[in-house]
């Protein structure tokens, strides 16, 4: 039987890891991820899982150990945040190009410097080209659900790519919410047994991982990674559909809220979507045709589906919780702009960079964004392409 509990995001993720019962977890503590693997290490100490927990001296070693364990033929999970992810960088790319189906929770936190432990998306956005599938969750429930689905997605034989599951540092990682934890057996039944591909421990079928790969084959291996991402776009909805069949909660590439007949759309990731939803309600009550789109899957980027969902909007406001210095705007804005242009969506687009380093984002700020969008819809003019929401001038 499933049970309801008041849980923060990290505890819910540790529960998912306990239920998945991976062969190996290698991790290094970093705020605000720490309590995820700390809780999980207690499960290991108490004998509630069969996992080999590898304590390492850095995140670079954590990801290296994960890649080795995956190549050996194990089901592998880990978690990190911010500078921990940055320290893994080299190995993050190697995990993807080795086609290691590792599942890693990334509790979003601002990258130093200046040093900061609070939420923004600069950590995982920096790895958007590393070749990992990236899922963003709004709350502890989505963190739990995405971690479980990530196992199926990563291990699908047409995909075999690592998956990052994100949620907001402190807001989601440490905020208590009502979470439905599914029955252990039901989760294990959903993810199924692990099938290793070309395991190093299969001594009867020797295989070499990580050999030198020059101009004669490197490009073909990159082309394979592109194909795996295309397959992932097919597999992610399949896994979501099966998840809904098992557990009743529905997931897609993104989540729409009062978007159908909206003229002004706001696009925002993760926990801020919750705040935005209440603003949509209050502005709708005032007769403003506003709606919300919350992306869940950032890699593979569902460009065509997003374009279809935003096709008849007049103005689309994007909220980016990270910046791409020197670019047109934040990463979500740049990707979405390209998608809408490519698929002939004529909506005007503007970007709001917000919440950097954990800066609070209030309902009144989000309301001011919608008022901006309304003004732009009326005048047909883009007032300001990128606005830094809440920054002191």
């Amino acid at each position: 039987m499933s049970r309801f509990e008041a849980m923060d995001g990290n505890t819910a993720t540790a529960e998912a890891m306990r239920q998945v019962n991976p062969d190996v977890v290698a991790a290094y503590p970093i705020t605000p991820q720490t309590s995820t693997v700390q809780t999980f290490s207690q499960f290991v100490a108490d004998g509630e899982v069969d996992t080999e927990f590898i304590r390492v001296e850095s995140e670079h070693s954590a990801m290296s150990a994960c890649i080795g364990a995956s190549a050996a033929g194990g089901r592998v999970m880990t978690a990190t945040s911010a500078n921990g992810l940055a320290l893994m960088w080299e190995m993050v790319y190697i995990a993807a190009s080795n086609r290691a189906p590792i599942v890693m929770t990334v509790v979003n936190r601002a990258l130093s410097g200046p040093i900061n432990i609070h939420c923004d998306h600069s950590d995982s956005m920096g790895t958007r080209d590393a070749g990992w599938i990236q899922l963003f969750g709004e709350n502890p429930q989505e963190g739990y659900d995405n971690a479980i689905q990530a196992v199926r997605i990563a291990e699908h034989e047409d995909v075999l790519l690592p998956v990052m599951s994100m949620y907001d540092g402190f807001i989601t990682s440490h905020g208590l919410e009502r979470v439905q934890i599914e029955d252990d057996e039901a989760v294990r039944d959903f993810i199924g047994p692990f099938t290793a591909h070309d395991a190093l421990l299969d001594v009867d079928n020797p295989v070499t991982y990580g050999p030198l790969d020059f101009y004669d084959f490197y490009m073909e291996h990159k082309r394979q990674q592109v194909e795996a991402m295309k397959y992932a776009k097919r597999v992610i909805p399949e896994v979501a559909a099966d998840f809904e069949k098992h557990f009743g909660r529905r997931y897609g590439f993104f989540d729409e809220y009062r978007l159908d007949d909206a003229e002004l759309a706001l696009v925002v990731l993760s926990s801020t979507a919750g705040t935005a939803r209440s603003v949509v309600d209050s502005l709708r009550a005032q007769g403003l045709k506003v709606g919300l789109l919350k992306p869940r899957v950032f890699r593979p980027f569902p460009a065509e589906e997003l374009a279809d969902a935003l096709r008849d909007k007049i103005v689309v406001g994007v909220m980016d919780r990270s910046d791409s210095f020197g670019a047109l705007g934040g990463p979500l804005f740049v990707e979405l702009s390209a998608a809408l242009k490519t698929y002939d969506v004529s909506a005007k687009m503007v970007d709001y960079v917000f919440g950097l380093g954990g800066r609070d984002t209030t309902p009144s700020q989000i309301e001011s964004v919608f008022r901006d969008l309304a003004e732009m819809a009326e005048t047909g003019e883009i007032k300001q392409l990128v606005t830094y929401l809440g920054v002191r001038e």
């Binding site: 190009s97 080795n98 070309d198 295989v207 790969d213 394979q224």
Partner: protein
């Protein structure tokens, strides 16, 4: 064995090599600019060259050094450098061997 002109659909994913021992197919002998030549009279069969050759190109029979596998010897000269009795000489490829 993966063919040299194989397309991306035909090769193992992740840069893995799934044919064991396929280094045998890679004839590094074509890299060679100088060729080792051994003076069997001088050689004391210490087998240091056999231990240190990076391409396993020292031919040994009945625990005696008998020559080189020239399909694989890339001419690095380590064997000549390491030989304690200077029994190996590196001869430029352009010069005819004795």
């Amino acid at each position: 064995m993966v063919k040299l002109n194989a397309g991306w659909r035909e090769i193992p994913i992740g840069g893995k090599i799934v044919d064991a021992g396929n280094a045998r197919e890679y004839e590094t002998g074509s890299w060679r600019a100088t060729t080792p030549v051994v003076d069997q009279e001088e050689c004391i069969n210490c087998l240091l060259c056999w231990i240190l050759c990076p391409d396993s190109s020292i031919d040994v029979k009945d625990e005696e050094m008998v020559g080189f596998h020239l399909r694989f010897c890339k001419g690095c000269g380590i064997c000549a450098e390491i030989c304690p009795v200077d029994a190996i000489e590196m001869v430029p490829e352009t010069e005819p061997e004795e």
